[in-house]
Amino acid sequence: MKKGTVKQILLITDGCSNQGEDPVAISSHISNKGVSVNVIGVLEDMQSEDPVGLTEVNDIAYAGGGVSRIVYAEELAETVQMVTKQAMNQTIQQFVNEELQQIFGKGSDTESLPPETRGEVNEVMEELGESCNLNVLLLVDTSASMQNKMPAVKEALEDLMLSLEARNGAFQYALYQFPAKRKVVNQLLDWTADASLIHKAFPKITAGGITPTGTALHEVSKLFHANMPVALDEGEVEDGPRPTFRSS
Protein backbone atom coordinates (compact mmCIF):
# COMPACT_ATOMS: atom_id res chain seq x y z
CA MET A 1 0.00 0.00 0.00
CA LYS A 2 1.34 3.38 -0.91
CA LYS A 3 1.31 5.92 1.84
CA GLY A 4 -0.54 9.21 1.75
CA THR A 5 0.71 12.59 2.78
CA VAL A 6 -0.95 14.82 5.35
CA LYS A 7 -0.31 18.50 4.74
CA GLN A 8 -0.65 21.11 7.46
CA ILE A 9 0.06 24.73 8.20
CA LEU A 10 0.58 25.53 11.88
CA LEU A 11 0.19 29.21 12.69
CA ILE A 12 1.35 30.51 16.07
CA THR A 13 0.13 34.03 16.80
CA ASP A 14 -0.94 36.28 19.65
CA GLY A 15 -3.44 38.56 18.08
CA CYS A 16 -5.61 39.87 15.38
CA SER A 17 -4.55 40.42 11.85
CA ASN A 18 -4.70 44.10 10.96
CA GLN A 19 -3.55 44.26 7.37
CA GLY A 20 -3.86 42.49 4.04
CA GLU A 21 -6.18 39.71 2.97
CA ASP A 22 -8.96 38.22 5.11
CA PRO A 23 -7.32 35.28 6.91
CA VAL A 24 -10.58 33.32 7.27
CA ALA A 25 -11.32 33.42 3.54
CA ILE A 26 -7.71 32.54 2.71
CA SER A 27 -7.80 29.67 5.17
CA SER A 28 -10.89 28.17 3.60
CA HIS A 29 -9.26 28.50 0.19
CA ILE A 30 -6.13 26.70 1.43
CA SER A 31 -8.19 23.89 2.92
CA ASN A 32 -9.83 23.30 -0.46
CA LYS A 33 -6.38 22.53 -1.81
CA GLY A 34 -5.93 19.70 0.69
CA VAL A 35 -3.90 21.56 3.31
CA SER A 36 -5.38 21.99 6.78
CA VAL A 37 -4.80 25.23 8.68
CA ASN A 38 -4.22 24.90 12.42
CA VAL A 39 -3.87 27.87 14.71
CA ILE A 40 -2.51 28.34 18.21
CA GLY A 41 -3.28 31.61 19.95
CA VAL A 42 -0.84 32.60 22.68
CA LEU A 43 -2.27 34.55 25.62
CA GLU A 44 -0.60 37.27 27.64
CA ASP A 45 0.18 36.15 31.19
CA MET A 46 -2.67 38.07 32.78
CA GLN A 47 -5.10 37.83 29.86
CA SER A 48 -8.47 36.17 30.39
CA GLU A 49 -9.16 32.79 28.79
CA ASP A 50 -11.54 34.24 26.26
CA PRO A 51 -10.07 37.43 24.84
CA VAL A 52 -11.85 39.27 22.09
CA GLY A 53 -8.78 39.69 19.87
CA LEU A 54 -8.19 35.96 19.65
CA THR A 55 -11.59 34.80 18.38
CA GLU A 56 -10.08 35.02 14.92
CA VAL A 57 -7.83 32.10 15.90
CA ASN A 58 -10.80 29.72 16.06
CA ASP A 59 -12.40 31.15 12.92
CA ILE A 60 -9.25 30.67 10.85
CA ALA A 61 -8.82 27.06 11.98
CA TYR A 62 -12.50 26.28 11.51
CA ALA A 63 -12.43 27.62 7.95
CA GLY A 64 -9.17 25.76 7.32
CA GLY A 65 -10.49 22.37 8.43
CA GLY A 66 -7.99 22.40 11.25
CA VAL A 67 -7.67 22.50 15.01
CA SER A 68 -7.24 25.56 17.20
CA ARG A 69 -6.25 26.19 20.79
CA ILE A 70 -5.77 29.34 22.83
CA VAL A 71 -3.21 28.88 25.60
CA TYR A 72 -0.71 30.58 27.88
CA ALA A 73 2.94 30.48 26.84
CA GLU A 74 3.87 27.78 29.38
CA GLU A 75 1.35 25.34 27.91
CA LEU A 76 2.65 25.88 24.41
CA ALA A 77 4.93 22.83 24.17
CA GLU A 78 2.18 20.41 25.11
CA THR A 79 -0.31 22.18 22.87
CA VAL A 80 1.78 22.34 19.70
CA GLN A 81 2.37 18.60 19.55
CA MET A 82 -1.23 17.87 20.52
CA VAL A 83 -2.72 20.16 17.87
CA THR A 84 -0.47 18.68 15.19
CA LYS A 85 -1.44 15.14 16.14
CA GLN A 86 -5.12 15.95 16.55
CA ALA A 87 -5.23 17.70 13.17
CA MET A 88 -3.56 14.77 11.51
CA ASN A 89 -6.03 12.32 13.05
CA GLN A 90 -8.90 14.54 11.95
CA THR A 91 -7.66 14.52 8.36
CA ILE A 92 -7.28 10.75 8.43
CA GLN A 93 -10.70 10.29 9.99
CA GLN A 94 -12.28 12.34 7.21
CA PHE A 95 -10.41 10.30 4.65
CA VAL A 96 -11.53 7.02 6.21
CA ASN A 97 -15.12 8.24 6.53
CA GLU A 98 -15.14 9.12 2.84
CA GLU A 99 -13.90 5.62 2.05
CA LEU A 100 -16.59 4.13 4.27
CA GLN A 101 -19.24 6.16 2.48
CA GLN A 102 -18.03 4.79 -0.80
CA ILE A 103 -18.42 1.27 0.54
CA PHE A 104 -21.53 1.55 2.69
CA GLY A 105 -23.30 4.48 1.08
CA LYS A 106 -23.91 8.09 2.02
CA GLY A 107 -24.28 8.96 5.67
CA SER A 108 -22.09 6.11 6.86
CA ASP A 109 -19.15 6.96 9.06
CA THR A 110 -17.20 5.21 11.80
CA GLU A 111 -19.99 6.07 14.26
CA SER A 112 -22.60 4.11 12.34
CA LEU A 113 -20.58 0.94 12.80
CA PRO A 114 -21.11 -1.28 15.85
CA PRO A 115 -18.63 -0.46 18.65
CA GLU A 116 -16.63 -3.67 18.16
CA THR A 117 -15.93 -2.97 14.49
CA ARG A 118 -15.25 0.67 15.30
CA GLY A 119 -12.33 -0.38 17.48
CA GLU A 120 -10.75 -2.18 14.56
CA VAL A 121 -11.34 0.72 12.16
CA ASN A 122 -9.71 2.96 14.75
CA GLU A 123 -6.73 0.68 14.91
CA VAL A 124 -6.35 1.03 11.12
CA MET A 125 -6.64 4.81 11.41
CA GLU A 126 -4.02 4.85 14.11
CA GLU A 127 -1.69 2.84 11.92
CA LEU A 128 -2.30 5.31 9.07
CA GLY A 129 -1.60 8.23 11.39
CA GLU A 130 1.59 6.60 12.51
CA SER A 131 2.89 5.74 9.09
CA CYS A 132 1.66 8.42 6.68
CA ASN A 133 3.97 11.17 5.51
CA LEU A 134 3.52 14.49 7.21
CA ASN A 135 4.40 17.92 5.84
CA VAL A 136 4.08 20.72 8.36
CA LEU A 137 4.66 24.33 7.55
CA LEU A 138 5.35 26.31 10.72
CA LEU A 139 4.37 29.97 10.49
CA VAL A 140 5.31 32.11 13.47
CA ASP A 141 4.00 35.59 14.17
CA THR A 142 7.05 37.63 15.19
CA SER A 143 5.41 41.00 15.63
CA ALA A 144 6.69 43.02 18.60
CA SER A 145 4.13 41.74 21.11
CA MET A 146 5.43 38.18 20.65
CA GLN A 147 8.83 39.14 22.09
CA ASN A 148 8.45 37.66 25.58
CA LYS A 149 6.74 34.54 24.19
CA MET A 150 9.59 33.61 21.85
CA PRO A 151 11.49 31.38 24.32
CA ALA A 152 8.28 29.37 24.81
CA VAL A 153 7.70 29.16 21.03
CA LYS A 154 11.27 27.92 20.51
CA GLU A 155 10.87 25.30 23.21
CA ALA A 156 7.50 24.21 21.84
CA LEU A 157 8.84 23.74 18.31
CA GLU A 158 11.83 21.78 19.59
CA ASP A 159 9.42 19.61 21.54
CA LEU A 160 7.30 19.12 18.42
CA MET A 161 10.36 17.74 16.64
CA LEU A 162 10.67 15.05 19.33
CA SER A 163 7.11 13.94 18.69
CA LEU A 164 7.49 14.03 14.91
CA GLU A 165 10.71 12.03 15.07
CA ALA A 166 9.01 9.34 17.16
CA ARG A 167 6.50 8.56 14.38
CA ASN A 168 7.13 5.80 11.86
CA GLY A 169 6.15 7.90 8.88
CA ALA A 170 8.45 10.37 7.21
CA PHE A 171 8.04 14.05 7.96
CA GLN A 172 9.19 17.33 6.59
CA TYR A 173 8.82 20.79 7.96
CA ALA A 174 9.57 24.34 6.97
CA LEU A 175 9.77 27.39 9.22
CA TYR A 176 8.60 30.86 8.24
CA GLN A 177 8.07 34.08 10.13
CA PHE A 178 5.91 37.10 9.49
CA PRO A 179 5.87 40.07 9.14
CA ALA A 180 9.27 40.61 7.50
CA LYS A 181 11.19 43.52 6.07
CA ARG A 182 9.98 44.49 2.59
CA LYS A 183 8.06 41.21 2.23
CA VAL A 184 5.22 39.37 3.88
CA VAL A 185 6.96 36.25 5.09
CA ASN A 186 10.59 35.39 5.71
CA GLN A 187 11.98 31.90 5.22
CA LEU A 188 13.95 30.63 8.20
CA LEU A 189 14.10 27.03 7.07
CA ASP A 190 13.18 25.53 3.73
CA TRP A 191 11.51 22.09 3.66
CA THR A 192 13.71 19.69 5.57
CA ALA A 193 13.51 16.38 7.40
CA ASP A 194 16.38 17.28 9.70
CA ALA A 195 14.86 17.98 13.11
CA SER A 196 18.14 19.29 14.52
CA LEU A 197 18.04 22.34 12.24
CA ILE A 198 15.24 23.87 14.32
CA HIS A 199 17.70 24.61 17.15
CA LYS A 200 19.69 27.04 15.04
CA ALA A 201 17.06 28.62 12.85
CA PHE A 202 15.17 30.73 15.25
CA PRO A 203 13.09 33.79 14.39
CA LYS A 204 14.08 37.22 15.55
CA ILE A 205 11.40 39.72 16.43
CA THR A 206 10.38 42.07 13.66
CA ALA A 207 9.69 45.62 14.67
CA GLY A 208 6.52 47.36 13.63
CA GLY A 209 2.89 46.98 14.45
CA ILE A 210 1.47 45.24 11.40
CA THR A 211 0.14 41.67 11.41
CA PRO A 212 -0.82 40.65 7.87
CA THR A 213 -1.98 37.14 8.86
CA GLY A 214 -4.15 36.49 5.79
CA THR A 215 -1.50 37.51 3.30
CA ALA A 216 1.13 35.52 5.18
CA LEU A 217 -1.04 32.39 5.06
CA HIS A 218 -1.60 32.93 1.37
CA GLU A 219 2.14 33.21 0.75
CA VAL A 220 3.10 30.06 2.64
CA SER A 221 0.28 28.03 1.11
CA LYS A 222 2.12 28.34 -2.21
CA LEU A 223 4.96 26.34 -0.68
CA PHE A 224 2.98 23.12 -0.90
CA HIS A 225 3.70 22.81 -4.59
CA ALA A 226 3.82 19.75 -6.78
CA ASN A 227 7.58 19.51 -7.06
CA MET A 228 8.46 20.04 -3.44
CA PRO A 229 10.93 17.48 -2.12
CA VAL A 230 8.94 14.37 -1.29
CA ALA A 231 9.56 12.76 2.05
CA LEU A 232 10.43 9.15 1.37
CA ASP A 233 10.68 6.21 3.64
CA GLU A 234 13.91 4.30 3.31
CA GLY A 235 13.85 1.95 0.36
CA GLU A 236 10.49 3.08 -0.90
CA VAL A 237 10.28 3.65 -4.63
CA GLU A 238 8.12 6.42 -5.96
CA ASP A 239 6.00 5.73 -8.99
CA GLY A 240 3.26 8.00 -10.06
CA PRO A 241 1.36 10.53 -7.99
CA ARG A 242 0.79 9.88 -4.31
CA PRO A 243 -2.63 9.82 -2.78
CA THR A 244 -3.33 12.88 -0.73
CA PHE A 245 -5.67 12.95 2.24
CA ARG A 246 -7.85 15.88 1.48
CA SER A 247 -9.29 17.78 4.35
CA SER A 248 -12.46 19.30 3.08
Partner: protein, 300 residues
Protein backbone atom coordinates in the same frame (compact mmCIF):
# COMPACT_ATOMS: atom_id res chain seq x y z
CA UNK B 1 -12.36 20.37 18.54
CA UNK B 2 -11.62 21.48 22.07
CA UNK B 3 -9.82 18.72 23.90
CA UNK B 4 -11.01 19.77 27.36
CA UNK B 5 -14.63 19.44 26.42
CA UNK B 6 -14.90 15.67 26.21
CA UNK B 7 -16.43 15.14 29.65
CA UNK B 8 -20.08 14.11 29.94
CA UNK B 9 -21.81 15.30 33.15
CA UNK B 10 -24.36 12.78 34.43
CA UNK B 11 -26.58 12.90 37.52
CA UNK B 12 -27.01 10.14 40.06
CA UNK B 13 -29.79 7.83 38.93
CA UNK B 14 -29.33 8.47 35.20
CA UNK B 15 -30.09 5.38 33.12
CA UNK B 16 -27.63 4.48 30.42
CA UNK B 17 -29.11 2.10 27.88
CA UNK B 18 -26.86 0.53 25.28
CA UNK B 19 -28.05 0.88 21.70
CA UNK B 20 -26.34 -2.23 20.35
CA UNK B 21 -26.00 -4.66 23.25
CA UNK B 22 -29.11 -3.53 25.17
CA UNK B 23 -27.55 -3.48 28.63
CA UNK B 24 -28.79 -0.96 31.19
CA UNK B 25 -26.63 0.86 33.73
CA UNK B 26 -27.64 3.24 36.51
CA UNK B 27 -25.20 6.02 37.37
CA UNK B 28 -24.24 6.21 41.02
CA UNK B 29 -21.39 8.70 41.37
CA UNK B 30 -18.44 10.19 39.55
CA UNK B 31 -15.17 8.34 40.01
CA UNK B 32 -12.89 10.45 37.92
CA UNK B 33 -12.57 13.21 35.38
CA UNK B 34 -9.91 12.99 32.71
CA UNK B 35 -9.08 15.07 29.67
CA UNK B 36 -10.66 12.42 27.47
CA UNK B 37 -13.89 11.67 29.30
CA UNK B 38 -15.60 10.96 32.61
CA UNK B 39 -15.65 7.75 34.65
CA UNK B 40 -18.62 6.87 36.83
CA UNK B 41 -19.51 4.18 39.29
CA UNK B 42 -22.64 2.50 37.91
CA UNK B 43 -24.95 -0.39 38.76
CA UNK B 44 -25.66 -3.18 36.33
CA UNK B 45 -28.10 -5.80 37.69
CA UNK B 46 -27.17 -4.60 41.20
CA UNK B 47 -23.50 -5.17 40.49
CA UNK B 48 -21.09 -2.26 40.71
CA UNK B 49 -19.06 -1.36 37.65
CA UNK B 50 -17.00 1.50 36.30
CA UNK B 51 -18.46 3.26 33.26
CA UNK B 52 -16.39 5.55 31.07
CA UNK B 53 -18.18 7.93 28.73
CA UNK B 54 -16.76 10.53 26.33
CA UNK B 55 -17.98 12.99 23.76
CA UNK B 56 -15.28 11.68 21.45
CA UNK B 57 -16.33 8.19 20.31
CA UNK B 58 -12.78 7.36 19.22
CA UNK B 59 -11.62 7.64 22.85
CA UNK B 60 -14.07 4.90 23.80
CA UNK B 61 -13.23 2.64 20.88
CA UNK B 62 -9.47 3.03 21.34
CA UNK B 63 -9.49 2.41 25.07
CA UNK B 64 -11.90 -0.52 24.94
CA UNK B 65 -9.88 -2.04 22.10
CA UNK B 66 -6.71 -1.83 24.21
CA UNK B 67 -8.46 -3.32 27.26
CA UNK B 68 -9.63 -6.20 25.15
CA UNK B 69 -6.06 -6.81 23.97
CA UNK B 70 -4.45 -6.67 27.41
CA UNK B 71 -7.21 -8.61 29.18
CA UNK B 72 -6.10 -11.62 27.15
CA UNK B 73 -3.01 -12.11 29.33
CA UNK B 74 -3.08 -15.29 31.35
CA UNK B 75 -1.82 -15.43 34.90
CA UNK B 76 -1.53 -11.74 35.64
CA UNK B 77 -4.23 -9.13 35.73
CA UNK B 78 -3.47 -6.18 33.50
CA UNK B 79 -5.96 -3.35 33.60
CA UNK B 80 -9.61 -3.70 34.60
CA UNK B 81 -11.72 -6.36 32.85
CA UNK B 82 -13.73 -4.94 29.98
CA UNK B 83 -17.42 -5.77 30.19
CA UNK B 84 -19.31 -3.93 27.46
CA UNK B 85 -18.84 -1.29 24.75
CA UNK B 86 -21.83 0.58 23.41
CA UNK B 87 -23.52 3.84 22.41
CA UNK B 88 -26.18 5.58 24.45
CA UNK B 89 -28.84 7.80 22.96
CA UNK B 90 -29.97 10.48 25.40
CA UNK B 91 -33.38 12.14 25.49
CA UNK B 92 -32.05 15.35 23.98
CA UNK B 93 -30.91 13.42 20.90
CA UNK B 94 -27.18 13.32 21.69
CA UNK B 95 -25.38 10.05 21.20
CA UNK B 96 -22.30 9.19 23.26
CA UNK B 97 -20.12 6.11 23.23
CA UNK B 98 -19.23 4.45 26.53
CA UNK B 99 -17.65 1.30 27.89
CA UNK B 100 -18.05 -0.53 31.16
CA UNK B 101 -15.41 -2.42 33.07
CA UNK B 102 -14.69 -3.97 36.41
CA UNK B 103 -14.55 -1.39 39.20
CA UNK B 104 -11.07 -1.39 40.68
CA UNK B 105 -11.16 -0.19 44.28
CA UNK B 106 -8.46 1.94 45.79
CA UNK B 107 -7.13 5.45 45.76
CA UNK B 108 -4.66 6.98 43.38
CA UNK B 109 -1.22 7.24 44.96
CA UNK B 110 -1.38 10.89 43.91
CA UNK B 111 -4.24 11.38 46.36
CA UNK B 112 -2.63 9.20 49.03
CA UNK B 113 0.57 11.21 48.78
CA UNK B 114 -1.39 14.39 49.49
CA UNK B 115 -2.85 12.70 52.58
CA UNK B 116 0.65 11.75 53.71
CA UNK B 117 -0.04 8.02 53.45
CA UNK B 118 3.01 5.97 54.52
CA UNK B 119 4.03 4.11 51.37
CA UNK B 120 5.93 0.89 51.14
CA UNK B 121 8.05 2.00 48.23
CA UNK B 122 9.51 -1.41 47.42
CA UNK B 123 6.09 -3.01 47.30
CA UNK B 124 4.81 -0.43 44.82
CA UNK B 125 7.99 -0.50 42.75
CA UNK B 126 8.06 -4.26 42.39
CA UNK B 127 4.36 -4.67 41.62
CA UNK B 128 4.52 -1.98 38.95
CA UNK B 129 7.66 -3.44 37.41
CA UNK B 130 6.06 -6.86 37.22
CA UNK B 131 2.95 -5.47 35.55
CA UNK B 132 5.01 -3.43 33.10
CA UNK B 133 7.03 -6.52 32.32
CA UNK B 134 3.86 -8.46 31.42
CA UNK B 135 2.51 -5.59 29.34
CA UNK B 136 5.81 -5.27 27.50
CA UNK B 137 5.73 -8.99 26.74
CA UNK B 138 2.50 -8.30 24.86
CA UNK B 139 4.26 -5.66 22.79
CA UNK B 140 2.78 -2.56 24.39
CA UNK B 141 4.11 0.26 26.55
CA UNK B 142 1.86 1.81 29.18
CA UNK B 143 2.83 5.32 28.10
CA UNK B 144 1.14 7.71 30.49
CA UNK B 145 2.58 6.33 33.73
CA UNK B 146 2.02 8.92 36.47
CA UNK B 147 0.88 9.07 40.10
CA UNK B 148 -2.72 9.81 39.09
CA UNK B 149 -2.90 6.53 37.15
CA UNK B 150 -1.56 4.26 39.90
CA UNK B 151 -4.21 2.89 42.24
CA UNK B 152 -3.39 1.43 45.65
CA UNK B 153 -5.82 -0.62 47.69
CA UNK B 154 -4.66 0.11 51.24
CA UNK B 155 -5.66 -3.13 52.99
CA UNK B 156 -4.37 -5.59 50.40
CA UNK B 157 -1.55 -3.22 49.29
CA UNK B 158 -2.42 -4.20 45.73
CA UNK B 159 -1.32 -1.82 43.02
CA UNK B 160 -3.15 -1.46 39.72
CA UNK B 161 -2.76 0.71 36.67
CA UNK B 162 -5.93 2.43 35.54
CA UNK B 163 -6.52 4.50 32.42
CA UNK B 164 -5.22 2.81 29.30
CA UNK B 165 -5.32 5.99 27.19
CA UNK B 166 -1.56 6.01 26.75
CA UNK B 167 -1.05 2.31 25.99
CA UNK B 168 0.86 2.15 22.68
CA UNK B 169 2.14 -0.64 20.47
CA UNK B 170 5.92 -0.97 20.36
CA UNK B 171 7.54 1.10 17.65
CA UNK B 172 4.83 3.73 17.39
CA UNK B 173 5.03 7.15 19.00
CA UNK B 174 3.74 7.19 22.58
CA UNK B 175 0.08 8.11 22.41
CA UNK B 176 -0.40 10.05 25.63
CA UNK B 177 2.16 11.34 28.07
CA UNK B 178 2.48 13.93 30.81
CA UNK B 179 5.32 16.46 30.82
CA UNK B 180 7.32 15.63 33.98
CA UNK B 181 7.05 11.87 33.41
CA UNK B 182 8.04 12.10 29.74
CA UNK B 183 11.72 11.49 29.06
CA UNK B 184 11.54 13.76 26.01
CA UNK B 185 10.66 16.64 28.32
CA UNK B 186 14.01 16.19 30.11
CA UNK B 187 15.88 15.54 26.85
CA UNK B 188 16.63 12.01 28.05
CA UNK B 189 15.41 10.14 25.00
CA UNK B 190 12.77 9.83 22.32
CA UNK B 191 9.00 9.42 22.47
CA UNK B 192 9.20 6.11 20.65
CA UNK B 193 7.25 3.37 22.30
CA UNK B 194 9.82 1.00 23.85
CA UNK B 195 10.28 -0.58 27.30
CA UNK B 196 12.71 2.04 28.55
CA UNK B 197 10.09 4.76 28.03
CA UNK B 198 7.91 3.31 30.82
CA UNK B 199 10.92 2.65 33.04
CA UNK B 200 11.82 6.34 32.91
CA UNK B 201 8.30 7.40 33.95
CA UNK B 202 8.33 4.81 36.73
CA UNK B 203 11.57 6.30 38.11
CA UNK B 204 9.93 9.74 38.21
CA UNK B 205 6.90 8.25 40.03
CA UNK B 206 9.08 6.58 42.67
CA UNK B 207 11.14 9.71 43.25
CA UNK B 208 7.93 11.60 43.91
CA UNK B 209 6.52 8.94 46.23
CA UNK B 210 9.69 9.34 48.30
CA UNK B 211 9.58 13.17 48.19
CA UNK B 212 6.18 14.70 47.70
CA UNK B 213 6.30 17.78 45.50
CA UNK B 214 9.84 17.10 44.29
CA UNK B 215 9.08 18.24 40.75
CA UNK B 216 6.89 21.22 41.58
CA UNK B 217 9.40 23.60 40.06
CA UNK B 218 9.99 21.43 36.98
CA UNK B 219 8.34 23.95 34.64
CA UNK B 220 11.08 26.44 35.46
CA UNK B 221 14.00 24.07 35.75
CA UNK B 222 14.39 21.16 33.35
CA UNK B 223 17.54 19.71 34.86
CA UNK B 224 16.99 16.20 36.16
CA UNK B 225 20.32 16.08 38.05
CA UNK B 226 19.09 18.96 40.21
CA UNK B 227 16.11 16.92 41.40
CA UNK B 228 18.24 13.85 42.05
CA UNK B 229 20.44 15.97 44.30
CA UNK B 230 17.39 17.02 46.31
CA UNK B 231 15.89 13.54 46.61
CA UNK B 232 16.01 11.84 50.02
CA UNK B 233 15.28 8.35 48.69
CA UNK B 234 17.81 5.84 50.19
CA UNK B 235 21.12 5.90 48.31
CA UNK B 236 20.98 2.41 46.72
CA UNK B 237 17.57 3.26 45.16
CA UNK B 238 18.75 6.70 44.10
CA UNK B 239 21.71 5.20 42.26
CA UNK B 240 19.45 2.68 40.54
CA UNK B 241 16.81 5.23 39.52
CA UNK B 242 19.51 7.51 38.15
CA UNK B 243 20.72 4.66 35.96
CA UNK B 244 17.14 3.98 34.84
CA UNK B 245 16.68 7.59 33.72
CA UNK B 246 19.98 7.40 31.87
CA UNK B 247 18.53 4.52 29.86
CA UNK B 248 20.87 1.88 31.29
CA UNK B 249 18.05 -0.65 31.60
CA UNK B 250 16.08 -1.86 28.62
CA UNK B 251 13.78 -4.40 30.35
CA UNK B 252 11.50 -4.16 33.36
CA UNK B 253 12.65 -7.51 34.77
CA UNK B 254 16.27 -6.27 34.82
CA UNK B 255 15.11 -3.43 37.03
CA UNK B 256 13.30 -5.86 39.35
CA UNK B 257 16.58 -7.73 39.89
CA UNK B 258 18.47 -4.47 40.41
CA UNK B 259 15.82 -3.20 42.82
CA UNK B 260 16.11 -6.35 44.93
CA UNK B 261 19.89 -5.97 44.97
CA UNK B 262 19.46 -2.36 46.11
CA UNK B 263 17.12 -3.54 48.88
CA UNK B 264 19.75 -6.02 50.10
CA UNK B 265 22.45 -3.36 49.95
CA UNK B 266 20.22 -1.09 52.01
CA UNK B 267 19.66 -3.81 54.61
CA UNK B 268 23.38 -4.58 55.04
CA UNK B 269 24.09 -0.87 55.15
CA UNK B 270 21.52 -0.38 57.90
CA UNK B 271 22.90 -3.43 59.71
CA UNK B 272 26.43 -2.02 59.60
CA UNK B 273 25.07 1.31 60.82
CA UNK B 274 23.35 -0.40 63.74
CA UNK B 275 26.44 -2.36 64.66
CA UNK B 276 28.71 0.67 64.45
CA UNK B 277 26.11 2.61 66.44
CA UNK B 278 26.31 0.02 69.16
CA UNK B 279 30.13 0.22 69.13
CA UNK B 280 29.88 3.93 69.71
CA UNK B 281 27.56 3.35 72.64
CA UNK B 282 30.03 0.93 74.18
CA UNK B 283 32.76 3.50 73.64
CA UNK B 284 30.84 6.22 75.46
CA UNK B 285 29.93 3.81 78.22
CA UNK B 286 33.54 2.73 78.75
CA UNK B 287 34.76 6.34 78.87
CA UNK B 288 32.07 7.00 81.42
CA UNK B 289 33.14 4.00 83.49
CA UNK B 290 36.75 5.10 83.07
CA UNK B 291 36.10 8.63 84.32
CA UNK B 292 34.13 7.31 87.24
CA UNK B 293 36.94 4.91 88.08
CA UNK B 294 39.38 7.80 88.01
CA UNK B 295 37.18 9.88 90.32
CA UNK B 296 36.77 6.94 92.65
CA UNK B 297 40.54 6.46 92.75
CA UNK B 298 41.11 10.17 93.47
CA UNK B 299 38.57 10.14 96.28
CA UNK B 300 40.21 7.19 97.89
Amino acid sequence: MDLDQLSVPLKKGTQIKGKWNHQTYIIDRKLGQGARGTTYLAFHNHKRMALKISKDPSVVSKESYILKQINKVQGMKLGPYLFDVDDCLFNDGTNYAFYTMEWVQGDSVHQLLKNKFPFNLSNIAKQLLEQLHELHKLGYVYGDLKLENILLESTSQNVSLVDVGGVTKFGRSVREYSPVYDRGYWKKGSRKSEESYDLFSLAICLLQLANSGLFDSAVKRKDLAHYFSRSTIPKPFLTLLKQVTEGKYTRANQVIVAWEQAERRLKTHRHVENVSGRFKEIGILSTFVGVNGLLLWLLL
